[in-house]
Amino acid sequence: MIPFTPYIVLFPFIGFLVLGLFGSKIKNEKVIGIIGSGAVGAAFAIAAAIFVQMLGMEPQDRRRVVELFTWISTFTGTASSFNVVIGYQVDQLSILMTLVVTGVGFLIHVYSVGYMHGDAGFWRFFAYLNLFIFAMLNLVLADNFLLMFLGWEGVGLCSYLLIGFWYERKFDVGGYAAGVATTNDAAKKAFIVNRVGDFGFILAMLLIFATFGSLRFDAVFSGAELMSIGNQAAFWITLLLFVGATGKSAQIPLFVWLPDAMAGPTPVSALIHAATMVTAGVYMVARCSILFALAPSTMQIVAIIGSLTAIVAASIGLVQNDIKKVLAYSTVSQLGYMFLAMGVAAFSAGIFHLTTHAFFKALLFLGSGAVIHAMHDEQNIQNMGGLKRHLPTTYRTFLIGAIAIAGIFPFAGFFSKDEILWKAFSSEQGSAVLWVVALLGAGLTAFYMFRLVILTFEGPARFGQNVHPHEAPRTMTIPLVILAFLSLVGGFIGVPKSLLGNNMIEHWLAPVFEAASTKLLLSEESVHATEYVLMILSLGIAGAGIYGAWKVYTKRIDIAEAVSTKYKRMYHVLLNKYFVDEVYDGAIVRPTVKLSERLLWKGFDVAVIDGALNGLASLISLIAMSFRKIQTGIAQMYAVVFVGGIVFVLAWLVLK
């Protein structure tokens, strides 16, 4: 099956071409839906078949590369010159990512058939979605950095197209700028902020090529294995790669685009801005684990940024009232956890959390979509309440998602998050401080998630009589149920030894991270007693968060009000997302525009250069004008000059 790997990538591309070129002619939504979902389903089927085949192989045989054709090269035949072949690599990590992308992607495609029903751009939507899957699969299956970058930029483009899908709509960014933005402002912001990160990625690739002479993963990584820890080049490469990751995966300082990205249709938020694209940075770090292992300083930076992002985003999530915004900050925060895992060399734990997060966060977003759908585009949870009566399936599945993300045993989030917390504490690269920050974040997560659940589904209805919420159609509820099931049992692929499991996912991924583990001398072992204590603590704080939210938002709503008035300033800061957007705008965007317009364009170009040129031109014409006066046309005058000249020449000859 492995030689068929390129077909995984090809099918969504064909879907995109068919829908993109002929979609407007196909009037039947069903046909479009089948083409769109079918393309992704086919990709999933191939990936699944390959996966099954890999299960039967020896671990060391599971990595295969299928090369297609030379992409970018100097074609000069010089050995040291640049050469990149389009090649796809199947290994334990990439097949897992492929399954997540195509699996969750397929469910979201099916869901979209219901969600986008009746939209004028129905075909366009599916074309973009298929293009996205194509790009994402290039990202995860690439066997070299450059092709990965193609996917990396491709998903960014699709994100741009899909955030601004309803390009005529206004969009509320919240905070001070409330109500002034449009969806395409959000789209543009996403693309440009990502480009800042991509700048880091590009520089990293240049440095990788300068250091290793290749951009192929196997060449680079086997070269890296020979280097020693603390290598200068490895430090810069990983740091620059991480800059790229902060853009794509919305980490501090480049996280600002993701909350705005919620302007896009909800299935997009679920697929791109929760389950798949935003995790690309995590995948990239995991893929380059050996490089990061060489750079302890970068690892430390990754861990700190990850944990900081986790808690900062969670704190903003506490006060947001837009259902999707809460989930967006939650995503930023959860991505922070994944980076924390990367930073403490818990690579497989990070990928594990990436997988479970894909299940429950896609579920939560799709659930929120069902709610928004039912409420006729209302997104403010203050205007909801009591929806569980109207949307029973959505409610139940959403609740499962919330429990999973809060990290309650035995839901998926419990195992994956706990693994990260444990490694943050116990690993060589970890520390008690990182653990405490992550633990606090977990408490906040439980609190804001249940605040969201309660304000949306519980209590009395806070919407008008004219709104009649109704459960979503089956194309939407079936994916919810499947994802809820996965959120419930997904964690069992990674049950730790301490809980009598055998951590299947860690074993599965072990060969991919072997080089990094060897380099870092990671040991398997641990004292289970400490692990149990920490586990109980984290369960306790999650429970406390849920209890707190339940207490406050069902019974004592006055507490919430009292807190927000008492700590008014803090509340204000959180509501306005720490004013990061405003700072960027004031410190970077506006000065750059002003400088370019006044100083460079009107100042230098027009005034200085053209001024000098035009000045020169007028000077010349001035001189010419004065010479013109000599030519008076009076013959006597000429005669005088003529004679004067002769006298002068003679005098000169004589006196010489």
């Binding site: 054709f69 992409w71 491709g154 005529e168 395409n184 440009i192 590009i202 250069i609």
Partner: protein, 526 residues
């Protein structure tokens, strides 16, 4: 004597046949004038395809060579021939010219016959410039091409066309006169060598050049480089460009941006580096600093433009900066990147000017703030605009990325530059190009249809089939080069390799440095 031997000459001069036919076409038979123009340029394109497929990529010497003595006493000859770089630029020229006519089919009404003649003469000059292997001949074509362009801007241009045309003319003329002096000095220098004679034959001069002392090299380099830098245009010699572009009619802008600017960068590679290698090495930092400043400066100034056409013009300053950086990085990656980037810029900026022209024809405005919500009314147009913008932004999978990345890589690993700084700063251009193009795209295409827009309430018609064909062909190559650039990069591989080897030999002090120079001089005069 076969067609093959004359293929290049026929390609160069075929437009004359079109001009001749136009002479005898009555000036009010609009349709036949247009058809004559279009068909002539189309045949030139077909001829260029003959060159493309007849060109042997693994043959390092100049191909389709032809040599006829012209002024025998001075050893000036009609010597032509092409290497991979010249081939690609000739095909680009021959590709863009018919598309420029097709894409602006109904844009010119006034003096259509003369206009079409000028376009044909311009094409003749452009192809000639890329084919000439004699400096005197090169200079003739170089200047000859200036005249039709001057008229195209000056007669068929916009409001301030005369100012723009004169500015364009003087700027360029100033540079080229210095070049003429340098050409004569070079020829004269050849005659001062033992048994030497005056000559402008490039092959001979390549061999002669290694005897030129450094200080003379520096002067000659400066004269050539100034002329080319104005053409590129390299910061700070770029101010003629925005005016010329804004005032020129659409087809003029397309050709100006698509082909004319490339003559500067072509000149650097064809003449400056191989003729004055020591001087080039010495002055590389200066040119690269200007190139990098141009990349950033052009992008920042493009960002704040209010006129779409001016925005695209300034973006050219930025993009051509990449080409110059690639050339002077003097690595295989850099030069291959520069060559393909010349083609890329021709395609994407040419297409952008076509697109701007199409909307201008419909609304008679180019001011960004006059627009909004065009995508709603012209969805196909908006899609083309987006694809081309993305190509210009350098999205992987489209053509722009291939060139930009190779250039950055070449500059990064360049031993001549010796520092990562150039590539790192140039990389910022990658962020900025997304900023100015997407911002413009958003303001023009997206959002609701602006109230009070000139086209509000009217039915703004989407692009016609003819326009779609013109853009469609460009998009095909945008994707082709993005996915499978090998077709084109293979052709120019020897050009890059030769120049890089030469520069390396010079750096190491090898004699004779032209040992591997592949240019062969045909002995017999045909």
């Amino acid at each position: 004597m076969s067609f093959h031997d004359y293929a290049l000459t026929i390609t160069i001069f075929f437009p004359l046949l079109g001009v001749l036919v136009l002479f005898f076409t009555p000036k009010n038979s609009v349709r036949s004038i247009k058809l004559t123009g279009f068909v002539s340029t189309l045949i030139v394109f077909i001829l260029s395809l003959y060159l493309f497929f007849g060109f042997e990529s693994d043959n390092p010497s100049f191909q389709f060579q032809q040599q006829v003595t012209w002024i025998s006493g001075l050893n000036i000859g009609y010597t032509i021939g092409i290497d991979g770089m010249a081939l690609l630029l000739i095909v680009l020229t021959a590709f863009l010219t018919p598309l420029a006519l097709l894409g602006t089919w109904n844009s010119v009404e006034h003096r259509l016959k003369e206009y079409t003649m000028m376009v044909l003469l311009l094409e003749l000059g452009m192809v000639g410039v890329f084919a000439a292997l004699d400096l005197f001949l090169f200079y003739m074509f170089w200047e000859a091409m200036l005249i039709p362009m001057y008229f195209i801007i000056g007669i068929w241009g916009g409001q301030d066309r005369v100012y723009a045309a004169i500015k364009f003319f003087l700027y360029t003329l100033f540079g080229s006169l210095l070049m003429l002096v340098a050409i004569l000095a070079l020829g004269y220098f050849a005659s001062t060598l033992p048994e030497g004679e005056f000559t402008t034959n490039l092959a001979t001069l390549y061999a002669v050049a290694q005897h030129i002392p450094l200080n003379l090299q520096l002067w000659m380099f400066a004269a050539f480089a100034l002329s080319f830098a104005i053409k590129v245009p390299l910061f700070p010699l770029h101010t003629w460009l925005p005016d010329a572009h804004v005032q020129a009619p659409t087809a003029g802008s397309v050709i100006l941006a698509g082909v004319l600017l490339k003559m500067g960068t072509y000149g650097f590679l064809r003449f400056c580096l191989p003729l004055f290698p020591e001087a080039s090495l010495r002055l590389t930092p200066v040119l690269c600093v200007l190139a990098v400043v141009g990349i950033i400066y052009g992008a920042l100034v493009a960002m704040v433009q209010t006129d779409i056409k001016k925005l695209v013009a300034y973006s050219s300053v930025s993009h051509l900066g990449f080409v110059v950086l690639g050339i002077f990085a003097m690595t295989e990656e850099g030069i291959q990147g520069a060559i393909i980037q010349m083609v890329n810029h021709g395609l994407s900026t040419g297409a952008l000017f076509l697109l701007v022209g199409m909307i201008y024809d419909r609304t008679h405005t180019r001011t960004i703030s006059d627009f909004g919500g065009v995508a709603k009314l012209m969805p196909v147009y908006a899609t083309f605009f987006l694809v081309i913008s993305l190509s210009s932004i350098g999205l992987p999978g489209l053509n722009g990325f291939v060139g930009e990345f190779l250039v950055l890589l070449g500059a990064f690993k360049s031993a001549v530059l010796g520092t990562y700084a150039y590539a790192a700063i140039a990389g910022i251009g990658v962020i900025l190009s997304a900023v100015y193009l997407l911002w413009m795209y958003q303001r023009v295409m997206l959002g609701p249809v602006r109230e009070g827009a000139v086209y509000a309430g009217h039915k703004l018609s989407d692009i016609t089939k003819r326009e779609m064909v013109a853009l469609g062909f460009i998009v095909i190559f945008v994707v082709w080069i993005g996915v499978y650039p090998g077709t084109f990069l293979k052709k120019s591989a020897w050009t890059a390799k030769t120049v890089v080897t030469l520069m390396e030999n010079v750096q190491r002090g090898f004699q004779p440095r032209y040992a591997e120079w592949p240019l062969k001089v045909p002995n017999e005069n045909k």
